[in-house]
Symmetry: D2
Subunit: 436 residues, 4 copies
């Protein structure tokens, strides 16, 4: 039995290929800057969009044609879906996948049954991981869909929601450990507010801080040493999500003494909804030592919601790879396609086209980024631009040899600053194009 | 000699008045929640927009008719302008004003002359403060207009810009102290980047951290004990300002061990440009103990730049006052009209209309806020909404009596969460209107 | 049997009332500017949000508790729901309602059965209309939810979708006529594109023009003389909706010689998503003679999707009523609450709170607007501002007595323009507040 | 005397060149789809940004170093600047330029002197055009900078502003004709409103319609047969510009019976500020027969103001060229760089880098677009997607053989629509990348 009979293993055919079911740039074993492409990207397929997405939107129900799925919330259907997922991932050649608890297994009538359902499906996942060698990039728990979480999970006004969320994370941590997951992600789906009139922000943030500490403690207790990641998003579904962007997360983590335990899982579309480029968020996190992993997708900057489109823009992928290379790679993170096919792209084949397009775009971006770095012109420009800090008063300031009084003495003597240099933005953008 | 011969002292005439040169709501000595309105608001007039604004925009030169101003950058003109400013503020009845160094005094041919010009004007300011009793809310230095700061001040790639900025802040601190200024504000005008291709973010942030430490040290040295404030703004003039919003500032301050020394000066239009309501920023800062002062204005949410309009919306002013009352007032901060008349409102009289409208809107907002608080219905709703945290498992969690395992035991037993309650947003908004 | 046992008829209790299940401002028989409030507003309840909304969003399923609804798509359930709807509308005291075909009746296995289902429910609607006196403001057809319309209806690349849509509109027109509906609305749910790469815009627009002509022809044929309305919306669900805003609609209608047959149904949240205030859209349509009806709601300007919140802001409702009064009312249109309770406001009672809050906000807005108009100060200001057009060269230009050469002669003689007057925006906003 | 001694004629050196002062893609005589690149693009340099831009912004004065400019508003300086401009344009190899009256010549003490100043500079422009063969793409009049136009020009509440504007356009039309300008552009700089409280929209729009008719009449009278163009922009400097986007312009032109006389001059940054992609605006105008010319630049979609950056993104330029080729080219229009160097790019050399980068990006975009068209895969996909309209019921509908009743008969018989096909957005974006 195969779910995708018309598709075989996706192969690398090189740039001249016009076969949309082959890679033109992603060549897993090709070495760039000392690592294979496979190692650079650690591509991951997401269970939620790719195997649970229906194409529904607020204006209409699902459209997706998924012949293997009987449309029920049965455990049997869930177990069967696991095989389809691994067939897809294996044919695609992605080494990783990622899931929420609720993506893979349905809720039961109570928590106990929910655990049981989950365990049954995890058996199947484990078997398929062993069969294929595909690994779990990270696990996570869905604490935003079920109505019990309508007011939030850890930040709910209902203390029971906190307690239930604790169970969700406890179990998801155990499963993630069992399946060899390399990280664990928190996306605060409804951790935020719809309206300040009914919200006690301080109490909610305190609860969130406490929740994260309990998670850290439990991970330690069970010996899960994967990286904890927070995925920032500014809004949607709530009006304001507490994890608005990476700076909000960092401020929160430091306020609650959690910053040693967490890094960021950055998503392009979340970055832009927060008013930042993805490159900004990457640089910000790299600079602050909290770059963990990325959710590779793109948004439409003229739309105000999270479209989670597959990334195909070479400028975007090049900028991502420039930052990722600069900060030494993603460690135990990866390039995770938190992206969904459009409602109108309803055939199974579209899932392949979409992922191949995204993987190729990243591979091309890596090659461009590596060429830029090998050439060194852009780096050299930056280095020279800050040359005034490498000697004289600049170096002295960096070496803590100045205070306001000595600087005043220096400038009173000099009268005004040495001339500035042109920022050369237009030239740099033009040079960037030379590598495209 | 008078600059505003047609305007006398603006008086309180009460809600029935239709005189646009009188207050309908702002009654400085009226007591609300135990303090006079004057004490609540500590209204402040800004020198930059109100006495230096010309009405120029990127598409045309200034339009403002200011008969007292000879249009030159002479010290004499600057000194003369001081008298006009104090006549205006005195007639308006605002107890405070605020300025940048460059608003009040022109640059000279070199730093030394610039200092001298500044001192000359400060003599005049001091004399007018003494004559009128009007006080300085806060001082600040303009480190963004002069081309020497094109690449930033503390974050410039040109180390001399850092050194010059040090002199600017040193001098401005001294002047602020001399004039009795109660706070000192940093708005990072060009502390950010236009383009990541030419930017070393890490180095720039390190320099900014160092700069703030030097400022803190110098303030201590001279015994200036006013509050340091940062004014967040996300973009404009740069593509990305490091002080994007209060969360970015907080993360930065904590990263550089500066958080004990700084609070925020929040501006409505900056909040909305960052994707937040002003109320959000107030609640966030109040919650994090960093609410310092506010720049009272409003933006146009359908426009993408900082319009700095005068605030007249009662919902906005009520929300501001609710938060300010909740967090115990603004301390040494105040309600500072960082707002400018439109380019088409070019007459001196428009300055009066604008400020009176803004002050009245805040006074009305205070009265509504106080009524809401006196009634207690909204507060009561919030308190009850979180009741599950006041006893049972909620109280136990808050008291650190639970971990993931005990919570799991609790929920396995219970099966699922106790029912949620309606968030009642529509009811709350309807009730809010009952106080309008 | 009652669906809302805890709620009786909502009564007017006056401004001092604190009863959230009473009107404080909406007094149906109170006369304002010669018409009763009931006549001014012609309030309408929408079937889709209020009786079919579940509270689902892209991140979770429905939350709404609707004890009367068995959750099935049966005709029986649909007929039963009709009674609940009319109980609600009657208790609320709204004189109108509005629906899409699919809101009231489920699809059948084929078009014929779908017709039959619809007819069965229409019988029930007709009976309830007769029993209660509640009338149909307008009818419309849902041509966006069913996957058959995934690529659009009239603008689909699938010609059958056009044919099916023709049936939908034909039937909906017949039903609207039968039920005495006073208008018929087109909202082009998926009439737009997701991507230009797969789109033939010209062909799609031609099809849309043809479709509207066929609808106009058929209405004539069956003697339906209600007003045709288009509801503009810029985006969502598609990336670009052809009916982006009222100007786009007007350009389209004129291009296809349809402008005599259509007016606009304006929605606040659609206006703001398009970058306009609701007041702008009202003035634009009034000015162009195409103001038909309004969907009364509000959005959150910091969010990028259609939140369809209930309107409670007095500034918004006052601006709406100022424009509506200025252009002589809404004719056969009305104030239709295309608004939904938040996902967290899941109880039946929230539906009452929400509508009462909205109706009261509009009633208060009407009273403020009427006071502004009675006073005449703002109108007088505008009239005087354009005084130069009432005599001299202005009047001559308006009377077509000038061309470029005579104007040049005039201005060469004069040298430059007579002085401008201040636009007084700040004063006007301050005066506006005097009526709040 | 040379203004740019360090730069010679910019030459085409081919893709392998790394010389930033050479073209890598723009090869003026290279033939693509039967026309030379020179003919395709008709590149134009703008006088305002390139020769009058100072780098000032709302937060600081100019930074630009322009050694040839004495900084005065003298006619002598203006005449001298003409030589510099033509040296630049000639070295760059652009065949066209464009200007506002006020860019090239200063105002005098009255209209008469203003005319005289203009004539003097036009003599110099004419001489340089003859010397170099560089031509005028289009002329226009600045009716937004001078305070006399603060409330608008044709739409001002001050009738004299209309009269003065008439003179400006009259003169600019005469000059454009004299200099052989191929089009004439209207950008409605302040034709809009800041606030509806003081605005009579109907009267303003009527005046604007009248103004355009007078312009059309005068052009006819003097035999100027260049194309009239309107440049849409949604906001900035006003809150709402009447020429919001091309659809607003089209609706207006049709309402005032002007649509036969005008086409659009589209600008990328104006498109995106209005919520559209540039490609959308191009397709919309092409579809409606009003595509005239383009202002080639780009904005930053995360910023809310008109940044007018030089375009360097290959996706953008490819999309532009796909649409331009599809609609048969730009006729008497061209690719006009309405773009400015950043405030920090203050050296004359930056002007070269910026233009070369932009021209190369467009040349590369043309080559990609031509390859896509030559291959035909994307066009073929679109054609097949609409195949249902080429026969059967679709063809019959297009041939006007159906009404609602016949379509109902067809669908009642059929029961439901024939299956839809996948929209394949992800595949198409992936295929698009194959040509990059
Ligand atoms: Co994600
Ligand atoms: Co997302
Ligand atoms: Co401010
Ligand atoms: Co501001
Ligand atoms: Co609507
Ligand atoms: Co809506
Ligand atoms: Co332009
Ligand atoms: Co522009």
């Amino acid at each position: 039995m195969t779910a995708f009979p018309e598709v075989g293993k996706i192969e690398y055919e090189g740039p001249e290929s016009r076969n949309p079911l082959a890679f033109r740039w992603y060549n897993p074993d090709e070495v760039v800057e000392g690592k294979t492409m496979k190692e650079h990207f650690r591509f991951s397929v997401v269970y939620w969009h790719t195997f649970r997405g229906t194409g529904s939107d607020p204006f209409g129900p699902g459209t997706a044609v998924r012949p293997w799925d009987d449309g029920t919330e049965s455990v049997e259907n869930a177990v069967n879906r696991v095989k389809v997922a691994f067939e897809f991932i294996e044919k695609l050649g992605a080494p990783y996948y990622a899931f929420h608890d609720r993506d893979v297994a349905p809720e039961g009538a109570n928590l106990k049954e929910t655990y049981k359902n989950f365990d049954t499906v995890v058996d199947a996942l484990e078997a398929e991981q062993q069969r294929t060698g595909i690994k779990l990039l990270w696990g996570t728990a869905n604490m935003f869909s079920n109505p019990r979480f309508m007011h939030g999970a850890a930040t709910s006004c209902n203390a029971d929601a906190f307690a239930y969320a604790a169970c969700s994370v406890k179990k998801a941590l155990e499963v993630t450990k069992r399946l060899g997951g390399e990280s664990y992600v928190f996306w605060g789906g409804r951790e935020g507010y719809q309206n300040l009139l009914n919200t006690d922000m301080k109490r909610e943030l305190d609860h969130l801080g406490k929740f994260f500490h309990l998670a850290v403690d439990y991970a330690k207790e069970i010996g899960f040493d994967g990286q904890f990641l927070i995925e920032p998003k500014p809004k949607e579904p709530t009006k304001h999500q507490y994890d608005f962007d990476s700076a909000h997360c960092l401020a929160f983590l430091k306020s609650y003494d959690l910053d040693k335990h967490f890094k960021m899982n950055l998503e392009t579309n979340h970055a832009t909804l927060a008013g930042h480029t993805m490159q900004h968020e990457l640089e910000y996190c790299g600079t602050n030592g909290i770059l963990g992993s990325i959710d590779a997708n793109t948004g439409d900057l003229l739309l105000g919601w999270d479209t989670d489109q597959f990334p195909t823009n070479y400028y975007l992928t090049t900028e991502c790879m420039l930052s990722i290379l600069k900060f030494g790679g993603l460690g135990t993170g990866g390039v995770n396609f938190d992206a969904k096919v459009r409602r109108e792209s309803f055939e199974p084949l579209d899932l392949f086209y979409a992922h191949i397009g995204g993987m190729d775009a990243f591979a091309k971006g890596l090659k461009i980024a590596a060429a830029i770095r090998a050439d060194g012109k852009l780096d050299q420009f930056v280095k020279e631009r800050y040359a005034s800090w490498d000697s004289g008063v600049g170096a002295e300031i960096e070496a803590d040899k100045h205070d306001f009084k000595t600087l005043e003495a220096y400038m009173l003597e000099k009268g005004d600053v040495s001339p500035n240099s042109s920022g050369r933005q237009e030239l740099l953008e033009h040079i960037f194009n030379m590598y495209m």
